[in-house]
Symmetry: C2
Subunit: 388 residues, 2 copies
């Protein structure tokens, strides 16, 4: 079950990549309400200002999102923006849509001219492939991803089913700064743009904005939330349940990205508990999760937990070493300023798990953050030494 | 010529490591003036507060610095401090020194109890090994370093030779936050503590505080500057030349650390030119230099320069993509918001160099920062997956 009322999808090979699918389409014939969050990278792809402008000019109503993989159309200047407009004009013409009915996003290598003619030639085939099933679309947006990332949830609101379908792609250059690489969350609920934007902001904060593979925020990060408005009306009385369900789908997608982080062999959950503020907890989370020494130790199944504390301690914070406790899974490792557990065989055994849980309790306040990351392996180095 | 008037050195194997030297001593019989800069890591080793206290209690006069490698004596709480005092009492007794005449520093693995008895048993042998030559001391402070790091400079001030000898060790957990891992700079000039501290602060800012291997600031970072005061008096008229010489030695040591960064195959110089402030230039330097995607691309000899801009753009700054230019060596890669050079064979050839130069010119102001880093290789992953 990967369908959602009001939306159709397509994914084809147009020729940017050698063989794999590289062009995808989300289509809502009646016009979906659409909101987004976008990368804050200063060298953002021209797809970012273009998408923001289109959403604003069309009052957040949209028929199409066309996405290519294999080329990020980034650092491409005026030519990049011209190519966007050219792709969108072809798509709108193909579907008899008026201006500003579609937006386009790109993912792949940075700094190469977009293969605009290749894409335009593929548009007719793309439109003819539209179907209720999202599978081909998901394949078409993948880059170094090794599996497809889909999350689906149905909740009941006012006696009616509300469906939420989310799809995303990773899996390097991942430390989203307000949105992820590319994620698309669709619902059939009837939601106004303002509520939709609030829901999206609320959801990304503890999902896409709580993960990191390699600390590198992409130039193309975009997360869109679209409603086909075919179902139940979301209002003040039921919005809480709706937000919770969208957040749940977002967290599931974010975790899938980490599971497929480039070269990942471990899935690492980091809890920063009882910090003095949420922002401080988040900063400490990132400092641990991005530490190459922590990540390589976990790859090596090496309980070198001193590195966890060292990486937590290297940034400005209110951390008090004497109040802090550190847990690896259920094992207390550090308390009252010193080591409490040196049972190496037990810890060595724990490190063999595919899922590693780290909990740092600061005992300073009541802000808690949970985030996810992957380890740093030979495969990460190899993938990124070769990628071009 | 690795001697300096007023100082003696020793380095022996005491038994912390299996075979290699692991205990070193710097000795100034007449009492050296000594100032330091220390890690800001919240989980600092007890050697840090201990050293600060001793320097303050003895008005920055010191006879001995004893250093062990193989164990950082960190996350060791009250026991760690007790062990420091025990080592220092033994050393002071051995040399008939009064309290607060010596300080001790440690480097190596975090979170293991210090082998205090092993060290104390080695002290007699250590003292008997004292010589004018610094070589054994340098060997004794090494951890994953693959070569010894020494810099020496002689300048003439008021017609007299002033000698400056610096030694240091790296080579992982390297993004010093005001001092490096361990560095010792000695001079025979006659300098008061205040001038010495100013000189040290000035020198570390553009040397040890402008390098990164892996973004991880150590818990034990310490840089000491010691003067035996046997030579020319430093005063307002000649202090500029003295500061410049100490800075030159510091930069040389910092660059040696990067050349020996864990797993390093490339030596990367990054110039951030014409930024709106020095702090912004430094932040952009670190954002590029710590980017796993930039570091793996350089390891792979892959001119994937989009990653350089992406990593520069991912942090808050005043960067204007339309004003920014990017140079790889002498090749202009990016200008006026887009790519200017796609001559892949030429860039591929450049990437084969052992020394890579990146220059990002922001055209915003007049702040310029130069820093150094290494690449991210399979060997880095292997070294740190195994280290325990």
């Amino acid at each position: 079950m990967k369908e959602i009322k009001g939306f159709k999808f397509a994914g084809i090979h147009c020729g940017i990549k050698k063989e794999k699918k590289d062009l995808g389409l989300i289509y809502c014939e009646t016009g979906a309400t659409c909101v987004g969050v976008f990368t804050k990278n200063k060298f953002a792809s021209p797809t970012i200002p273009s998408s923001k402008q289109i959403l604003s000019q069309n009052n957040n109503v949209l028929n199409c999102v066309i996405v290519n993989s294999g080329n990020a159309n980034c650092l491409t200047g005026a030519e990049g923006m011209k190519n966007i407009n050219s792709v969108l004009a072809s798509l709108n013409a193909e579907l008899n849509l008026k201006e500003n009915s579609s937006l386009t996003l790109s993912t792949g290598i940075i700094g190469k001219p977009l293969q605009v003619d290749t894409i335009k030639k593929g548009i007719n085939k793309l439109v003819l492939s539209l179907t209720e099933n999202v599978d081909d679309f998901v394949k078409a947006i993948m880059t170094t991803d090794t599996f497809e990332k889909v999350a689906y949830k149905t909740i009941t609101i006012d006696g009616q089913a509300v469906n939420i379908l989310g799809v995303t792609k990773g899996s390097g250059m991942i430390q989203p700064n307000m949105a992820t690489m590319l994620a698309f969350i669709m619902t059939d609920a009837n939601v106004d743009a303002k509520t939709l934007q609030e829901t999206l902001n609320y959801s990304v904060d503890s999902s896409f904005n709580a993960i990191t593979v390699d600390s590198d925020s992409s130039t193309n990060d975009t997360c869109l939330l679209l409603s086909s408005n075919t179902g139940v009306k979301i209002n003040n009385n039921n919005v809480k349940a709706f937000k919770a369900a969208v957040k749940e789908v977002s967290v599931e997608l974010a975790k899938l990205i980490i599971r497929d982080g480039e070269g990942a062999t471990k899935f690492i959950t980091i809890n920063i508990n009882n910090a003095s503020s949420e922002i401080e907890a988040k900063n400490i989370f990132y400092s641990i999760a991005n530490s190459p020494l922590v990540k390589t130790a976990i790859f090596g199944e090496n309980p070198n937990f001193g590195r966890i504390l060292s990486s937590a301690g290297k940034i400005q914070s209110n951390i008090d070493p004497d109040k802090t406790t550190l847990w690896l899974g259920e094992y207390l490792l550090y308390e009252n300023g010193s080591i409490t557990n040196q049972d190496k065989p037990v810890l060595d055994q724990y490190m063999k798990n595919k899922e590693i849980n780290i909990t740092l309790d600061l005992h300073l306040g009541d802000a808690c953050v949970t985030g996810w990351t992957s380890d740093l392996s030979h495969d990460y180095v190899q993938i990124n030494a070769d990628y071009n």
